[in-house]
């Protein structure tokens, strides 16, 4: 086995794979990407070619046009967009304040309170659908985008991440800002928040993908086109009993995943890094 060069470099010694393992790795990769490729195939070809793989099958955009015409996808897009932006912004505000409090303020019983917050890492809104539905209806939030998002705003994960980040920021910076006459809010906004940018990016990406993809709670709490996000719209549209043509379902599926999928393909590294950081759950 050959040793790699540069023993000082902290890169892992990449092992040379024997041919068999390369083959296995590639086979697995093809199996793994195949379902998605198949969905693309089905979406861009006439329904007759669903299970006929003909390289010269005519390409078409009809399926997309049909999907777009048969369900209000434009509205679903808007709803998902509003939901995701709203949730992420609200999470940033609420979790920043709480994370800052946990990191820097002498609150009595702080450790106990923090453990209480961490419980939410295990008890999520979708497990409590029954009671959360009742609470949402008491608050008049059923069938609103706020109702979908609000239970997720005080995210234990966000509070945890920001608290950890704020704790690593040297107090000297804070003191310097105070000498310049900054109050607590100014210190938070001018010192802590800018230095925590990578954390916001990571948390934001994880949160965006989570809420773009979330289904069960939005399904429970919405009941009209005006508030349904894409996932629920897609679920209603493609439920097998509706008898919608498969090529159309395929196109609709691609329509709903396209923005996130494209974002992922463009910013793979950032996405993977962000998911890694989420590794505290």
């Amino acid at each position: 086995m050959s040793r790699t060069t540069a023993p000082l470099a902290r890169r892992p010694t990449a092992l040379r794979l024997p041919g068999l393992e390369t083959l296995a790795a590639w086979l697995l990769a093809i199996v793994w990407i195949f379902p998605l490729l198949y969905a693309v195939w089905a979406a861009f070809h006439p329904p007759a070619f669903m299970v006929r793989f003909d390289l010269f099958a005519p390409l078409t955009l009809d399926n997309f046009a049909n999907a777009w015409a048969q369900a209000p996808f434009a509205r679903y897009y808007l709803n998902t967009f509003l939901l995701v932006t709203g949730v992420v912004l609200a999470q940033f505000v609420v979790c920043t304040l709480a994370g800052f409090a946990f990191a820097r303020f002498p609150i009595p019983g702080k450790d106990f309170l923090f453990m209480l917050v961490l419980i939410q890492l295990f008890v999520f809104p979708e497990v409590l659908i029954v009671e959360n539905y009742r609470i949402a209806s008491t608050l008049g939030l059923v069938d609103t985008i706020t109702g979908i998002g609000l239970p997720y705003v005080a995210s234990a994960f966000g509070i945890f991440l920001l608290r950890q980040t704020f704790k690593t920021i040297p107090r000297e910076l804070e003191d310097a800002a105070r000498i310049e006459g900054c109050g607590w809010m100014a210190i938070l906004l001018k010192v802590y928040v800018p230095l925590a940018k990578p954390t916001y990016l990571a948390y934001g990406l994880v949160s965006i993908s989570h809420h773009w993809n979330n289904f069960l709670w939005p399904l429970v709490v919405t009941n009209s086109v005006e508030s349904r996000p894409l996932t629920v719209g897609l679920g209603v549209f493609s439920a097998p009993e509706t008898g919608v043509n498969w090529a159309t379902v395929s196109a609709a599926t691609l329509l709903s995943i396209a923005p996130l999928l494209i974002a992922f393909l463009l910013f793979q590294r950032q996405f993977v890094q962000s998911f890694l950081r989420s590794g505290i759950r």
């Binding site: 890169r11 010694t13 198949y38 029954v130 009671e131 005080a154």
Partner: protein, 295 residues
């Protein structure tokens, strides 16, 4: 005196900063948890309002409910079917991608992509494979002259079909944690092992695998949580059928609450889920985090 005041002011300020999060957590996490526990002690009245206190009656019903046991058993099989397989696959994927491999970028992307799809979209795509007449799997079997399988309609196969789809969706997500751990391993270990002439197989089992144990535990916890929390795909693939063969606990909660309108029984099943999650949380906080202090 002044200093006292400053400290009290700090405490007040801190409490105010916590207030929005505290209110929201109370409303959507603590209150509903407590309400669930309380509701499980009642029988539903008219229009589902909890009226009659019955103590543990719902739990007695639960124990006698053969559907509940079926669903609980399904969920156990589902966990046992998805977790070890996806962990093993994730580890294999990470080892593949961590080694020098032609087209590594593509391979890594192929493994990871299912992770960012919504479960509902993944289920739609797999529906094309599983559907009885026109599904791809049966077409392929037909081309080979074999008779098709009713992948989602046959009670003895359906749960396995659901498990296979879940593994496909999850493995890539767990891979990235293994990959990060592998990349953090000191290369000296491998070099030393090479000098000693250790075989790759025994290097993996005696060095790599034990060193990856914290990652494995972490992934295990995540997989356990997902096994009780994610039921989105059932809405498309099987709706819990045929005859509850693929029903899982959370889906059964949904059915009871929003199809049968029996909210207190749904609360009782939710308590079971909360119990499972409490056990997972205890394991995580007591065993996994014993060394890592949240400081």
């Amino acid at each position: 005196m002044d200093r006292m005041n400053a400290r009290v002011r700090m405490q007040l300020y801190g409490a105010l900063l916590l207030l929005p999060a505290a209110v929201l957590l109370a409303t959507f996490a603590y209150l509903p948890t407590i309400a669930t526990l309380i509701n499980s002690l009642f029988l539903p009245g008219f229009r589902g309002a909890p009226t009659e206190f019955v103590g543990l009656e719902n739990y007695r019903l639960l124990v006698e409910d053969s559907t509940f046991w079926r669903v609980a058993r399904n969920n156990l099989i589902y966990a046992l079917g998805t977790i070890p397989t996806s962990i093993a696959l994730a580890l294999a994927m990470a080892l593949f991608v961590n080694a020098r491999l032609p087209g590594r970028g593509f391979v890594r992307m192929a493994y990871f992509t299912p992770t960012i799809l919504p479960m509902i979209a993944a289920a739609n795509i797999w529906m094309f494979f599983y559907a009885p007449q026109i599904g791809l799997f049966n077409k392929l079997l037909g081309a080979l002259g074999l008779s098709g399988v009713n992948w989602l309609g046959d009670p003895s196969v359906a749960l396995t079909s659901v498990i296979v789809m879940t593994v496909w969706k999850e493995a890539g997500f767990f891979m990235i944690f293994y990959l990060a751990a592998l990349q953090g391993m000191p290369p000296e270990l491998r070099e030393a092992a090479d000098l000693e002439g250790t075989s790759r197989w025994s290097f993996f089992w005696r060095v790599t695998f034990p060193l990856l144990m914290p990652t494995t535990l972490f992934v295990l916890i995540n997989a356990l949580i997902n096994a009780v929390r994610v039921v989105d795909h059932l809405f498309i693939l099987t709706k819990g059928g045929p005859n509850n063969a693929t029903n899982l606990l959370l889906y059964y909660v949904y059915e009871n609450a929003f199809s049968f309108f029996d909210r207190t029984y749904a609360a009782t099943i939710t308590v079971v889920i909360l119990l499972v999650l409490a056990i997972v949380a205890t394991v995580k906080f007591s065993i996994l985090d014993r060394r890592t202090h949240y400081q």
